[in-house]
Amino acid sequence: MNIENTQSQMRKGILEFCILSVIRRGEAYPSDIVEEMKAANLNILEGTLYPLLTRLKNADMLTYRWVESNSGPPRKYFSLTPKGEAFYGELQATWNELTNAVHALTQKI
């Protein structure tokens, strides 16, 4: 049991939740998502983002559209589907429960 592993487990659990929350605020482009997460001090590898987005899209949580960019080919902009919205709601609830629980446990002492 090493610390790195536990940390990565923790991070991994909230990754989808975080991504969805970024996209929920408005159409997002993958590198924007990464930037935003970085700004919030949650460092993730960009490489991990793409597979996650694709999986979420394949699970009908996300949809995307091509947006012409001023330089080069069009970009993929992701947005939430109603199903994704519902999924997000559930995650939100779970997260609240968890934070409360963890809070309660960690603050007890």
Partner: protein, 750 residues
């Protein structure tokens, strides 16, 4: 200084350094491998590539001339390498594995299996035997086994192949497992895998792959593989040199061991994949991934625990009930799928089998090349040891500057150059130096071909020297022996042996060979034949025939006349020389001496045992072939010399014979030993289809009997005789042959 190439990367033209491009390609390939089992693999990779292209465009916009290694590495660092993803996100294969249809049964059964241990904290993922659907060669049985046993699939495959080869039931076992086991996407539990290393190889990179796997120096496995070969070479050299003194024991063990290792190498070559991508190379060395693998196992255990804990409650009851049903349906389904799947697998393994055949072909050619190289080395070693003798002989075959030059050139180019080339290649391969330029190889090949050509030319020149045949004859003034009996002896050689302890010539060469001995300035030949015929008058006659080959009739006759063969007589004893010497300027031209003894009816003859020292060799250069026969009894030699077979009597040395009207008859065994038939018999005529002897025989005028030609006549060699019947009138017999150069060549290279 780096080469820059332009690539069209997701609709952008990117100038990129070639090395940077390679890094990029490797990275993309590693992603491709990592997401191999991911449903949206292509999309993910396309997205990532798109992002790369965008970032490249940004860099270029900022004023960079091109994309450098550093740029690519920086982007890769921010993207993360596949090994790093593993820590960040869920293992893709676990996800797809759960999604796959087989997963339900698998986990169902697994759930029951682990049900009792539910409470125990350190959760062990129940290991079950599956067929690996993602790593299969045939049916994925070996990969599944490997996954179960936490071994490298290559090792399991190897063991399986060995079992199949040694015992047939391995195949049956495989088929049964194929039918019974459910499929599942498995991740290789052994992160360190056996590969062939293409970067550092001598033949196929097997040894260096093993070295990488076990973290040992490359030379260790190489030496182990090469050891039997080295030992084999050394022992065979040893045996060739001291074959009659020493017998190197234990070589059988080495041979068995060596062939085993050889087979092992070939099998490994076929079974092991080549480490092509960066990921595979990492896996091959087990670098970095080692730590990763620990992390991964723990992680996947945790995941599985979570999932199990959730599923347990609902499944535990159900699964008990369904287990049997599931199992049977699974088996049924597998059996049903089997033919289709086998067909697909066969198609898939089509290139696997092709690979195996290719490898076997390569091995075959390497073996042949190895044998040739080995033969050449051995020939060189043999030459080095017997070189003195051969050098001495050389003078008797070669005349003139050109022939000598050609001989040396062809020897060096044909034998020495390949050995040097082989050594160069070996040293390069072992040290790992690789030349980009191939001119050295071309040079060696050209030199070798030149050597071959000069050898052919030399052979042609030499054969030309043996083309014509000529004889000179001479009657020896014989005083009639007083007792009506003649004894023929061969004198002991006057020439002292040059090599008194020439062990390398062996017995065959020195004492029975044609080249009876070599002295400093001459070669002693013993190609002497004694023929016994019936005399037509009442006195003994003795004729000496000297024969030789040469490039033309005149030179042949010249060579023949140079033979010195002094015969002496003291009453009844005729003393023949033990042989005749040929000096260096005379050259060897298959000189022969035929002593013809004519015995009148009622008189006796005895050949002393000493005539056994004579040997006989006849070179026939004609009709595009060269015959070298030294059987003086049962072939057409007699005919070549022009003796009718009718009157040529067969005799044994050490036996006294008496000439009767019916032929030569035995008087009594005087000699010490009798190893020949009891009766002196007429020589049996050998059945030779290609020699039209019959007409000759039937002609009475041709029969020996006329005293004028002493009972023998010359005949041209049979091959020639058909073509032209004009026989020279002189005692010189000339028979020029025109060998066709191609057949000649072929007879040389057999």
């Amino acid at each position: 200084m780096k080469k820059i190439i332009n690539i069209n990367f997701h609709s952008r033209v990117i100038p990129i350094e070639e090395t940077a491009y390679e890094i990029l390609q490797q990275y993309v390939e590693s992603l491709r491998r990592y997401f191999a089992n991911e449903e949206g693999r292509d999309e993910i990779i396309s997205d990532i590539e798109n992002r790369f292209s965008e970032l490249f465009a940004d860099t270029l916009k900022k004023g960079a001339a091109c994309i450098t290694d550093a740029d690519v590495n920086a982007i890769i660092a921010s993207m993360g390498r596949p090994e790093e993803f593993a820590g960040e996100e869920e293992q893709p294969s676990a996800r797809t594995g759960a999604a796959a249809g087989a997963g339900s049964t698998g986990s169902g059964n697994a759930g029951t299996g682990s049900g009792p241990q539910q409470g125990s904290a350190p959760y062990e993922e129940p290991r079950r035997l599956y067929r690996a659907s993602n790593q299969k060669v045939l049916g994925g049985v070996c990969a599944g086994l490997a996954n179960y046993l936490k071994l490298d699939p290559a090792i399991v495959r190897l063991i399986f192949v060995l079992i199949c080869v040694t015992w047939g039931f391995g195949i049956l076992l495989y088929v049964i497992l194929w039918a019974v086991l459910p499929t599942k996407v498995v991740t290789t539990s052994a992160r360190k895998r056996l590969y062939r290393n293409p970067d550092d190889k001598v033949i196929a990179g097997v040894a260096s792959g093993i070295a990488a796997y076990f973290h040992i120096d490359v030379w260790i496995p190489r030496l182990i593989f090469a050891l039997p070969l080295i030992v084999g070479i050394v022992t065979s050299i040893w045996q060739n040199i001291w074959w009659h003194t020493f017998h190197f024991g234990g070589h059988i063990i080495f041979e068995g061991f060596g062939s085993g290792l050889f087979v092992a190498y070939v099998v490994l070559w076929i079974v092991l994949p080549e480490a092509v991508t960066a990921t595979e190379k990492l896996e091959m060395r087990g670098e970095k991934i080692d730590l990763e693998s620990i992390k991964n196992t723990v992680k996947s255990d945790m995941e599985a625990f979570n999932r199990r804990a959730k599923e347990m409650g609902t499944e535990i009851g159900e699964s008990f009930k369904n287990m049997g049903q599931n199992m049977s349906s699974q088996v049924r389904q597998n059996v049903q799928n089997f033919p289709a799947e086998a067909g697909a697998a066969a198609r898939r393994t089509g290139n696997g089998i092709g690979h195996a055949i290719g490898v076997l072909f390569k091995v075959f050619f390497l073996l042949i090349a190895g044998c040739i190289a080995f033969g050449m080395i051995m020939a060189l070693v043999a030459l080095a040891f017997s070189g003195g003798g051969l050098l001495d002989l050389k003078g008797y075959f070669l005349s003139g500057v050109w022939e000598n030059l050609l001989a040396w050139a062809s020897f060096i180019l044909v034998f020495v150059v390949p050995v040097i080339a082989l050594l160069t290649w070996l040293i390069r391969r072992i040290t790992g130096i690789r030349s980009q330029r191939h001119y050295l190889g071309y040079m060696f090949a050209t030199l070798w071909v030149i050597g071959l050509i000069s050898f052919v030319v030399l052979a042609g020149m030499l054969i030309n020297n043996f083309r014509a045949r000529a004889h000179s004859e001479e009657e020896f003034a014989l005083t009639q022996p007083s007792h009506g009996s003649l004894i023929i002896q061969a004198h002991q050689n006057v020439h002292r042996d040059y090599y008194d302890d020439d062990w390398w010539f062996g017995n065959g060469w020195r004492h029975n060979g044609v080249f009876y001995s070599i002295s400093e300035d001459s070669l002693l030949l013993n190609t002497v034949q004694i023929k016994v015929l019936r005399s037509e008058d009442s006195s003994y006659h003795l004729r000496i025939l000297r024969g030789s080959l040469g490039s033309s009739a005149n030179t042949a006759l010249n060579y023949a006349r140079q033979i010195s063969f002094p015969v002496t007589q003291s009453d009844s004893i005729i003393q023949l020389p033990g042989g005749f010497p040929i000096t260096r300027d005379q050259q060897f031209r298959n000189q022969q001496v035929i002593v013809v003894v004519y015995i009148p009816v009622g008189k006796k003859i005895m050949m002393d045992n000493s005539v056994k020292r004579y040997d006989w060799v006849n070179l026939h250069v004609g009709r595009g072939h060269i015959n070298w026969d030294n059987d003086d009894r049962y072939d057409e030699n007699y005919d070549d010399e022009g003796f009718s077979l009718e009157n040529n009597y067969y005799w044994n040395s050490g036996v006294q014979y008496i000439m009767t009207a019916g032929g030569l008859e035995r008087v009594g065994a005087v000699g010490k030993y009798e190893d020949r038939p009891e009766q002196p018999e007429k020589r049996e005529r050998p059945e030779k289809k290609e020699k039209p002897e019959a007409p000759e025989k039937s002609e009475p005028s041709e029969k020996p009997g006329q005293p004028a030609n002493g009972g023998y006549r010359y005949k041209a060699p049979a091959e020639k005789r058909k073509a032209d019947s004009t026989v020279p009138k002189s005692s010189t017999m000339v028979s020029p042959h025109r060998p066709s150069p191609f057949v000649l060549l072929s007879s040389f290279f057999i």
